[in-house]
Symmetry: C2
Subunit: 261 residues, 2 copies
Amino acid sequence: MTSRGAGPLYQRIADNLRARIQSGELAAGAKLPTEESLTKTHGVTRATVRQAVQVLVNEGLVVSERPRGHFVRRIERLIYRPQKEWRERPTHPELDQFMDEQVELGRKPSQTIAVELAAPPPDVAARLGLAEGDTVVIRKRVRYLDGTPFNTNDSYFPLELVQGSEIMHPADIGRGANQVLAELGAEQTHAVDEIEVRMPTPDEASRLEIGLGVPVAMHRVTGYTDNGRPVRVVRNVLPGDRHLIAFERTRPAKPQKGDEQ
Amino acid sequence: MTSRGAGPLYQRIADNLRARIQSGELAAGAKLPTEESLTKTHGVTRATVRQAVQVLVNEGLVVSERPRGHFVRRIERLIYRPQKEWRERPTHPELDQFMDEQVELGRKPSQTIAVELAAPPPDVAARLGLAEGDTVVIRKRVRYLDGTPFNTNDSYFPLELVQGSEIMHPADIGRGANQVLAELGAEQTHAVDEIEVRMPTPDEASRLEIGLGVPVAMHRVTGYTDNGRPVRVVRNVLPGDRHLIAFERTRPAKPQKGDEQ
DNA sequence: ACGTCTGCATTGTCTAGTCAATGAGGCCGA
DNA sequence: TCGGCCTCATTGACTAGACAATGCAGACGT
């Protein structure tokens, strides 16, 4: 009745609001009508209105700021470049490439570092060629931008490889962990990147202050030496509303037919 | 009371179920207790139980198969390799690299193709250097595996570039769209890949039969010729529960310091 | 043996309310 | 002028129901 179109009432209300968001009538940051007022305009109970709004929250379009109201989510993605690891020398040696880039844009990065010894999770164990009972050194970092958490960066190293090295010290490594690995005779020259897309676990959601309706990308890097030995696994958790992953390719010398990938 | 630990009742119930899933007590494919039985074991009304289950659905851990019950989601990810575009010659020329790989694993791929002329969406217009009022040729594909939709692959070409070519014909291009572009004097030798992580739009969700709690990766490729002209944009929509994006890197000749990216 | 029909368990939708929690803004006193 | 307190609008959590929709299995009929 209010909207033509089929489906349950809460879907129609959600469709109506979604359309108004996409059309720009409700711009990013705008306040949605209160639940109370929606009950009047659509002639349903508050429970139904709440169900409608919940749909939009789960789509990541709307955030709730209790008790101020519901607002259209603002999304600003910063560019995240996996390839930079080997591309550019940081101008601020105490930060890595990602954060370095942000400094140049006038933002204030910071990070926390913790080091622990523990058994590796199954995916890491498999990639390092270890058993799940083995011990790895884990360097856990949370990176912040302007005071809010931005992403996490957890590195896993085989214990025997980095025992006693700077990697086990919970402070920033100015010259980079790759450099330390090289000094230990395990220079990383090859890497496999994997990206997995899913909803955050409750742990991740709280560590990164991720709201409802925001998925994450898990960017996992396995680093290998020249002779194919895996020497580190990094797991980056990137909230979807804050990152745009970008990389570049140039066609190899001898081209072959390729279709529309 | 039922579980120690704080928070609202529905959260505790959700936490309880989540723990049982992660511990393996409720394995992938297992049926959750019915809402009715959960009301009894936790001493709450059905509305509260439903709220708890909804949390798990939105986390992507649980699917509802009405009216059979709720089940622990099965996840199987296939490896998706953006770099393959230029790497390997397909053994089945009528399919592209991604599907080709699946044939080898004994799965049955198929696809639908539609071609239309329309104005480009803003992100595509920006990357092709066009105005939003211009016209582009859009080749829309949906790829299926064993009968269920797997991902979508929409290519955008400037109209003047491909006018009258095979690209405008809604059938498979055996030798690949890249080859056709080359024959038109616009050989693609460089590409920029971007990956955006978000919840699917309702359109995407229905086109790909994506359930609640499953995010997507939007993999956007902008292809350039030798002299830097953008000649195509491809938008791949990859449901997160079905894909693992993978690519490889080798360190360039002159190494520079890099930190733990 | 085979199709059809019917009942049923289970989830989906919706109503009508109550009370709690919380951020913001205004009021008031020092 | 400034800090603290109070009010209030709004969302969050929960109860107690009713009825609809739908796959499946078992009964039934041919």
